[in-house]
Structure formats: structure tokens, C-alpha cells
């Protein structure tokens, strides 16, 4: 299959500091990729660069075109994006927020076609929000807000999901629920690139992990191969290891 996203020798500066250094990445159809690394490693910048929000050197292709040459609408049909701190500036309903994901398909929250309504329903149910559809965004909990914003991204029906810390602020059970949603996305023929600080969760759900540090990718591959004690130590500056317990993983950092 053709690549959904390609980064080739990409570097970027944010202000005076280097945010990405010679990063290359090829995202094919049907894989979940986790971005790991300490705060400031460049995970968010990588995701934003993929959408053309960051000035870079090197080559980026979203499908067959550079994200900066695509119209906002075409870009939105190729990739859906969940920012790290998603906002709902006006306290609209959960359903109206999710419906904003249909924007690139020509829909508005108050004008949804049958296909749009179907996509919204599906996303709402996948994220366990059926009972909250009519609730206002300022009347629900932090975890519910996070799931509403994830549902918005899912409703966009883009082949590629770029999610910046989709499990931040979620309890462990809900975080696993999000992991299931990501796997389901792949089964439907999509791909997911997501950043997280939850190493164990990433190891459990991702086909590939990218371990970043200071804007560079210092290790990548299948979780058990890439997340060696040496790589983890280099990334986080502390001795650490990944352990497999039954079907799950645990990341253990030494004090």
C-alpha cells in the first residue's frame, strides 16, 4: 500500500531551539505508531509538522502531496488531528462538537447528511458517549471531554489519525478503552500515529514505537525491540526497562 504519511530528513526550529532533527518516518496503511519520549522531545512538533503547521526543512508528504500545498479541506480528508489540549471555546453540546469532525465533508453541526449523522453516531458510540450526546461541554468531566474530542477526530473519517496524547488525563481503564479504539481504527483500514507518556500502553497497542529525545528519533521498531533498557535510559535519563507480564507490559523506572 502507498504511504499515508512520509517524513524524509525533516528538521524544524521552534524559536531558537531545534525541535526536530533529521527525522524520517514512513506510515503505511494499517499500523499504529506510538511516539514516546520525555517532555520537549519533539512529539507534538512532529505531529504538527505532518499537518503543515510548522515550517520545516526536508520533505513531508501527506499521501501524495506536501501538507502545505493542500487546501485545509483536502488535508482534513487525509488526516484527522487531536491537539494536546483540545478546546471547546463555546460550551456547545457533545454531539455538536463531534459533528465538527464532518466539516471537511461539507457538513455543519446543524446540517448533517445521512452519512454525516452515521459517522457521528458511530464515533459517539465508539467513545462511549451515547448517554452524554446532549450534554454541554462545560458540564462533563475531564475524561468525558477527552473522549468527546477523540470522537470528533474519529468522525472525520480520515485514513490517518494524528493524536497528541489521546489518553492524557484518563484513568487506566479508559486509557485501555482508547487503545481498543485505536486498534479498531486499524482494522477498518486506517492508521494511527499518537504520542503518549504511557510507555506500557504504547507497548501494548502499537505496532511500532518511535522513541524521541531532543528532536531526534533514537530508537524505533517493534516495542520489545526498540524499548531496550539502553534506549530508555538514553531517552529519559534514568535506568528503566520494559517488562512483559502475561499479555501486558509494565515500564519500570529505577529510583
Amino acid at each position: 500500500m502507498s504511504g499515508l504519511l512520509l517524513l524524509h530528513n525533516v528538521s524544524a526550529d521552534l524559536g531558537t531551539s531545534r525541535a526536530l532533527e533529521d527525522v524520517s518516518l514512513d506510515v503505511a496503511t494499517g499500523e499504529v505508531i506510538a511516539l514516546l519520549g520525555p517532555n520537549g522531545a519533539g512529539k507534538t512538533t512532529l505531529l504538527r509538522a505532518a499537518l503543515g503547521f510548522v515550517a520545516v526543512t526536508g520533505e513531508i508528504k501527506l499521501g501524495d502531496a506536501s501538507p502545505q500545498t493542500l487546501s485545509a479541506r483536502d488535508r482534513a480528508r487525509r488526516a484527522a488531528y487531536l491537539p494536546q489540549r483540545p478546546q471547546s471555546i463555546w460550551p456547545i453540546s457533545v454531539e455538536a462538537l463531534v459533528a465538527l469532525g464532518r466539516f471537511a465533508h461539507g457538513a455543519a453541526p446543524d446540517r448533517l447528511g445521512a452519512q454525516d449523522q452515521h459517522a457521528v453516531n458511530e464515533a459517539v458510540e465508539a467513545c462511549g458517549l451515547s448517554a452524554l450526546r446532549q450534554r454541554r461541554m462545560d458540564e462533563i468531566s475531564g475524561g468525558e471531554k477527552a473522549r468527546a474530542h477523540l470522537a470528533r477526530a474519529l468522525a472525520q473519517h480520515a485514513p490517518l489519525l494524528l493524536l497528541d496524547e489521546p489518553t492524557a488525563g484518563l484513568d487506566p481503564a479508559q486509557a485501555l478503552g482508547v487503545a481498543d479504539i485505536l486498534r479498531a481504527q486499524v482494522e477498518k483500514g486506517g492508521s494511527v500515529v499518537f504520542s503518549t507518556h504511557d510507555i506500557a500502553l504504547a507497548a501494548g497497542v502499537a505496532d511500532r514505537v518511535l522513541l524521541m529525545k531532543s528532536g531526534r528519533i533514537i530508537a524505533q521498531g517493534a516495542p520489545v525491540d526498540a524499548l531496550t533498557p539502553g534506549a530508555l535510559h538514553e531517552a529519559y535519563g534514568r535506568p528503566a526497562r520494559l517488562e512483559r507480564i502475561g499479555g501486558s507490559f509494565a515500564a519500570i523506572f529505577e529510583r
Binding site: 482534513a76 488531528y81 483540545p86 471555546i89 463555546w90 456547545i92 453540546s93 446543524d110 470528533r152
Partner: protein, 321 residues
């Protein structure tokens, strides 16, 4: 039927009722607005009708502009008056009158409102909260006030300009159907532009970057709102002078009825603004004062405290307003 549509119908009915009341009621008592004697016909159709329609059109334009600017700038305190668009529009008209090309006053109002809209959206785009944006608006408004004073100062014939100073205070007294036609034309143009931006305003609920990521063309949205705000505010100010706070009060009232969707509040905000200003003007006419109270002054007397209350409520919710 959506809440927005139902509310719009109710507000349209309220507007019609207010307009009918404005034809019937006044300091001069008349039996029936439809009486066929010359005096009644002059009072009702030549004096009261243009005045009431001008008030409605100015109110609708300002209500709509307030709702659109609030959506664009993601800020419930945005409004033509607070952000300096009205001040600049008045400046344009004053310059035209003071330097002897009065026929271009409406065009100058629109042009100057456009300058203010461009300035405020450029300077205020990245503002981190309601307060900082309002401060930029305060700066622009004072600047416009200063320039109006300067224009009056430098005008070749200052004696004739006393009326002009009065006019900037905001009033719809003695307006004609020409004023109505002018305000209506600019409202239609401005509304077309603003309604074309409605979906973009909805997307902006997600914040700037996420709005782009769902496919919104923000440059378009911004241009449409800026042009629409300039046409509406320019038109309203050209016929009625500076009238503040309608653009804040109307969307604020409407949100309580239809929710916060920035597209769905546009039409009801326009209708509410129109109804509000017709009622306010009726009140001004019926108040038994020796000299009639200026509509702009009345709007500020009511709107000022409302503005302060909204700001205080935002602040108590932890916003930085």
C-alpha cells in the same frame, strides 16, 4: 424545528410588535395609525416609520456584527462599540462632513470601520483572553475619539459642526426613508458576508489550529467577517451615530435561548438587536424629558452595566476578563 429557528420567529414577531408600537405610541397622541387625516399620516408614515425602521436596521446590524465578531475572536465581550469599529465609522463620517464632502459620509463610515476591523482582528487575533482584546478595543476607541476631536478642531467651519458632535452621540431622530434604504442595503451586504462565514465560526469553537485541521479556511472566514462587520457597522453608524453595547447584549440574550453555537446565534442576534433598539428608542421618545434623551446615551446607560456584569461573570469563572 430547531431552537434557533423558533427563537428567530419569536424575535421577528417581537420586532414587528415593537415597530407597530413605535408607529402608534409617541409624545403626540394619535387615535389610529391608519387614520387618513394629513397630520396623522405625516406623523406616522413620514416621521415615525423611518425613525423606527432606522432603529431596527441599526440594531440588527450591530447585533449581527457583535455575534460574528464574538465568534471570530472567540470572545463574548466583542462588539462594534467596544472594539472601536463604531468609533472609527463615526470618524469617517465626521471627516467627510467636516471637510465638505458630506455625500461620501456613508462610504467613509464603511471604509473607516473596515480599517478598525482589520486592526482589531490583526492585533487581537492572538490575544490570550477577553480582557486583552477589550483593552486593544479601548485603545482604538479612544484613538478614534481623539481623531474626531482633531477633525472638528481642524475643520474649516467649526460653528456648523455642533450638530455633528451631537450626531456622534447616537440618535435616530428625524431620519428619512433614504437613511432606511442606506442602512438596509449595507445590512444586506454585510449579512451576506457574515452568513457565508458561519461554518468557519463553528469550526473556530475548536480553537485556531484544530479548526484548520478539520478543514476550515480561516483566512476566508476572517475576511468575510471583517468585511461584513465593516458594512454593518458602517451602515448603522452612518444613519444612527455611535450606539454601543447592542452587539454585546443581543448575542448574550440569545445564547440563553438557543445555546452557544456561533452560527446558530447569528440570525436571532440580528433580530434581537433590532427589537432591542426599537424598544429603546420608543422608551427614549416616551420619557417625559425636556430635551429628548439620545438613543446612544440610553444604550450606554443600559448596556454599560450589562457589559460590566458579563465581564464580572467571566472573571468569576476563572477567565481573565
Amino acid at each position: 424545528m430547531s431552537a434557533s429557528f423558533r427563537t428567530s420567529l419569536a424575535l421577528a414577531a417581537l420586532s414587528i410588535a415593537a415597530l407597530a408600537a413605535a408607529l402608534w405610541l409617541g409624545p403626540t397622541q394619535i387615535g389610529s395609525p391608519f387614520a387618513s387625516d394629513d397630520i396623522t399620516r405625516t406623523i406616522v408614515w413620514d416621521i415615525r416609520l423611518p425613525r423606527a425602521l432606522t432603529a431596527w436596521l441599526a440594531g440588527a446590524a450591530l447585533g449581527l456584527t457583535g455575534a460574528a465578531l464574538q465568534g471570530l475572536l472567540r470572545n463574548p465581550l466583542a462588539d462594534s462599540g467596544v472594539l472601536g469599529l463604531s468609533g472609527f465609522a463615526a470618524l469617517g463620517a465626521v471627516v467627510a462632513f467636516a471637510f465638505g464632502f458630506a455625500m461620501f459620509a456613508p462610504a467613509m463610515s464603511v471604509a473607516f470601520a473596515l480599517i478598525a476591523a482589520l486592526l482589531i482582528t490583526t492585533l487581537g487575533w492572538a490575544s490570550r483572553g477577553p480582557a486583552s482584546l477589550v483593552l486593544i478595543g479601548v485603545g482604538l476607541s479612544s484613538f478614534a475619539g481623539g481623531l474626531i476631536a482633531l477633525a472638528l478642531n481642524l475643520a474649516p467651519n467649526p460653528g456648523a459642526l455642533a450638530d455633528l458632535v451631537n450626531w456622534t452621540l447616537g440618535s435616530v431622530e428625524g431620519r428619512s426613508l433614504e437613511h432606511v434604504a442606506l442602512a438596509a442595503t449595507l445590512l444586506v451586504i454585510g449579512a451576506a458576508s457574515i452568513f457565508a462565514a458561519a461554518r468557519g465560526l463553528q469550526a473556530l469553537t475548536l480553537g485556531e489550529e484544530a479548526a484548520v485541521a478539520v478543514g476550515a479556511n480561516l483566512a476566508n472566514t476572517r475576511t468575510l467577517v471583517v468585511l461584513g462587520a465593516a458594512a454593518c457597522t458602517g451602515g448603522a453608524t452612518a444613519v444612527a451615530g455611535i450606539i454601543g453595547f447592542v452587539g454585546i447584549a443581543a448575542p448574550h440574550l440569545v445564547r440563553a435561548l438557543v445555546g452557544h453555537d456561533p452560527a446558530r446565534i447569528l440570525l436571532p442576534s440580528a433580530l434581537a438587536g433590532g427589537a432591542l433598539l426599537v424598544c429603546a428608542d420608543l422608551a427614549v421618545r416616551l420619557l417625559p424629558t425636556d430635551t429628548e434623551l439620545k438613543l446612544g446615551v440610553a444604550a450606554a446607560l443600559i448596556g454599560g452595566p450589562v457589559f460590566a456584569l458579563i465581564a464580572a461573570r467571566l472573571a468569576s469563572r476563572g477567565g481573565d476578563a
